[in-house]
Amino acid sequence: MSSRQNPEPMTIEEGCKLIDAAVTKLTRIIEGKPEPPFASHEYIGNYTIVYNMCIQKPPYDLSGQLYEKYGAIFQDYDKDTILPSIMEKHDEYMLRELSRWSDINKIMVRWLSHFFYYLDRYYIARSGNSSLTVVGMTCFRDHVYEKVHFNVKQVVIALIHKEREGQQIDRALLKNVLDLFVQNGMGNMERYEKDFEDFFLTETNSYYSRKASRWIQEDSCPEYMIKAEESLKKEKERVSHYLHSDTEPKLLKNVQTNLLVLVAKQLLEKENSGCSALLRDDKTDDLSRMYRLYHEIPEGLEPVAVAFRLHVTAEGNSLIKQAEDAATSGIVEEQVLVRKIIDLHDKYMAYVTDCFQNHTLFHKALKEAFEIFCNKKVAGSSSAEMLATFCDNLFKKAANDKSNDDSTIESTIDNVVKLLDYISDKDLFAEFYRKKLARRLLFGRFSDDHERSILTKLKGQFGGQFTSKMEGMVTDMQLGKDQQTGFEEYFKNTNTGKPKGVDFTVTVLTTGFWPSYKTSDLNLPLEMVNCIESFKAHYEIKTKHRRLMWIYSLGNCNLTGRFDAKPIELIVSTYQAAVLCAFNNTERLTYQELIDQLNLGHEDLVRVLHSLSCAKYKFLKKEPASKTISKTDSFEFNSKFTDKMRRIKVPLPPVDDRKKVVEDVDKDRRYAIDASLVRIMKSRKVLPHQQLVSECVEQLSRMFKPDIKMIKKRIEDLISRDYLERDTENPSTFKYVA
C-alpha cells in the first residue's frame, strides 16, 4: 500500500513477526501443502514491510538486522526442515528428496528475494555484502549440501554401476543431482570435481580394470575390441545423459587406459587372433576397428604399427628363405621371388591405405619392414641384381610377345620402381640394369616404349643423374638407325669398297653411357675387315675428331654353313664367326694355330670353341672328343652336321660379370664418398668427425648405404692428399685445407 505515515517506527521484533507469518505461508505453498496463493496485496504488503523498516531514520534503520533475519530464515529452514527430510531417506529416494528440496529452496530464494528486494538495491550495494540470492544459495550449500553430499555421491555411483551392468536407471534424476553438485560450486567446478568426479573416476578405473583382466583372458582380440568400442560408446552416452561435459575427456582417458593401453601388448600379440593373425587373414574390419580405437590414444598407434612392421618383416623374411631354399646350384628364381614380393607389397599397402587410413606411422612401418628383407642376399645374389634381372626378363619377354597387355607391363614397372626405393644399394641396381640393358639393346630384344617408360619413372623417383647414362644408351640406338641409313646411302652413292655381298650394320655407342667393354685385337676374316674399313672411311667423312673403338665381343653374325646335307644359316657372335671362318681356308686347325691366327685370349677361345664343338650343335669336330677344351686339341669342320632347322642360333654364354659389376660399383662409391666429403668440408670448413660421417651418409643415402669403415678410409686418404687435416688441438675434428 502506501508507505506508512505513522510517525511511530516499527521495531525489528514487530517486523520479524510479520515476516515469519509470510514465510510460513510461503513454505506451505511451495511445499505443496493446501494454502491459498499470495494475493497481490499480500505480496506488495510483504515488500512494503521491509521497505519501510529500511527507510526509517536511524536508529530505527533496520537494514542490517533485516539482512541478518533473511539469512536466519534460510538457515532455520535448511536445518530444521530440509536437511532432516533428506536424511531420513535412502538410496534413490534420498536423491529425489534432495532434488525436490533443492527446487523448493530455489523458489524460496526467489520469492524472499523479491520480498527483501529493497535490501538488494541499497543496503547490500552500500555495504558490499553478498546478494540475497547468494545468501540463500550459500545457506543451502552450507547447511544441506555439505551434510549430504557424501552419501549422495555413494548412491549416484552405485546407480551408475547398476547402469553399467545393464540395468535401467532414472537418468533425469541423476542429471538433476549432478547439476546440484555443479551449482553448489558457486561458480567453479570444485565441488563437482572433489565431491563427485574424483570418486567416480576412481570407481570407473577399478571397474574397467576388472573388466579388462577378465576379457583379456576370455576373449579373442576382435571380440575384446568390440567390447572396448562398445564400452567407450556407452560412457560417451553417459556423459551426454547426466554427467558434466568436463568429465568426458577424463572419463574416456580412464577407460582407454584400462581397456586399451595397459593391455596393448597382450591384446595385439594374442595368439591366433592378435594383430598378426588379423593381418594374415585379411580381417579388414577388425583391423579398422583396431586403428579407430588406438588412434584416439596419444601414442596409442605405436604398438600397433610395431606389430604391423614385425608381421610384414616376418612375411618378407619367409619369402626370402623360401627362395633361398629353392635355389638350386646357386641359381635363384628371381622371377618368382620378385613377383611374390610385389604381391606382398600390394597386399600390405592396401591395409595401410584402407584400414590404417593412410597414417604416416604405418607407411613408415611398411617401409622399414621392406627395407629389412629387401636388402637380404639370396644365394649370393643381391636384391639389386635380382631386381635388375627381373626387369631384364620382363622386357625381353614383352619385346617378343607383342600380345602382352601394356597396362600390366606398366603396373609391373610401377611396382619395380616402388621396390627399388627400399633397396639401399641403388647404384648397384643401376649398374646391373645398365649391363643388361646394353645386351637387350644390342641384341635387338627391346621395345622402345617400355624402355623409355621405366627410365622416365626411375628419373621421376631418383633424379636425372640416376638415369642419364641409360637414357643416353637408348638414344644411341635411335641415332644408330639413322646412322645406318646414312651409311647405306654412302654405298649407293660412292660404290667404293662396298663389302662384297656382305650386309653390314654398325651401331655406334657413345662411350660413357655404355658399360665399359674390353676390346680385343681379334684378327677378323678378310670379308669383315673390308666392312670395317669402309665404315671407318664413311665415318671419318661425317665426323672429325672422333675415335672409333671396335667391340667385337658384342657383335653378331649370320653365316651360312655349307654342310653336306643341307646349308644351314647360323646366327653366332662375331668371335664365333671368326673361328668358323678360319675353317674356310683350311679343313683342320689346332688350338695353337687358332690362337696364333685369331689373336684371341685363351679364356675367350676356350669359350667359343666349347660352344661350337662340345655343346648342343657340333659344327666343329674336336679331337679328342672330350667334353672340355684343352690346348692340345685340334678341330675340323664337321661337314656331316645337320639338323631339321634351317636356322640355328648358337648362344655364347656370357661371362659371369657379377664380380666385375660389384667391383666397378665399389670404385664409383669411393669416388662418390670422396666427392661428398670434400663438398661437405668445403662448405663447413671445420667439422667434428662424427658429424662429417653422418652428413656424408645422409648425402649418399639416395644411392647407397656407405660403409663407415670405407668413409673412414676415404677421410684418411683425403688427409694424406692434403684436402683435409686433423685439428691439432682437437684431434676428433677436421679442417678443410684450401
Binding site: H689, I708, K709, K712, K713, E716, S720, P731, T733, F734
Partner: protein
Amino acid sequence: MRRSAASSKKKSDSITSSTTDLFRSASSKATTKEMDRIDHLFNQYANTSSNLIDPEGIEELCSNLEVPHTDIRILMLAWKMKSEKQGYFTQEEWRRGLKALRADTLNKLKKALPELEKEVRRQTNFADFYAYAFRYCLTEEKQKSIDIETICQLLEIVMGSTFRPQVDYFVEYLKIQNDYKVINMDQWMGFYRFCNEISFPEMTEYNPELAWPLVLDNFVEWIREKQA
C-alpha cells in the same frame, strides 16, 4: 777484469770505458770462446769436404759418447738441434744444439744427455719430439709416409721404454696385416694419442665410431679377437 796487455796497447784513449763495457766484451769473448770450442768439436767429426757430420761421423760421436747408435738420445739430440736430414748434422744445427745444451766439450755433451732426456720426456715436449721423429725419417723429397719396417723400428726406439705392451702388440699387428704398406703422419700421431688416452690392454674407452685412424680400429679389433 784485467785488461790484457795487448788491448792496453791499442786502447790508448779509453780511460773512461765503463766496467760494463769490460764485462760485455769479456763475456762476448767467452761466448766466442765457447763457440770456438763447439766448432772445434764439430770439426772433429765433420767430413772436411762437405763440412757436415755424416753418418760415419755420427757413429764415431756415438761411440765416444758411449751411447748406442740407435739410442733414443741421439734422436733427442737431433731434435734439440732441429736437424733436418737424417744421418747428417750441419754446422749450424750442431752449434744450435750444443749451445742450447751449454756443452762445448765432449764431456759436457755426455753429461748433458740425461738432462736432455728429461726435458724431452716432459709431456709438453714429447708430442713435438714424437712428430719430429716421424718427419726425421722422411728421407725422400715429397715423401709423406714411412714403410712398415722402419715404423716398427722407430716405434721401438721412441716409445719402447714408456709404452712397452702397446708397442709390442702394435708392431706385431703391423707386421701381419695387409691393409697398409706405409704409415702416414696422421696414423703415427694417432698411435701416440692411443697410448696416452686408452688403457691397455682393457681398451674400454676405445670407440671405433670416433675419429681414430682406421688402422687403429683394425688393430683394436685384432686384439679383441685374440683376447676372446
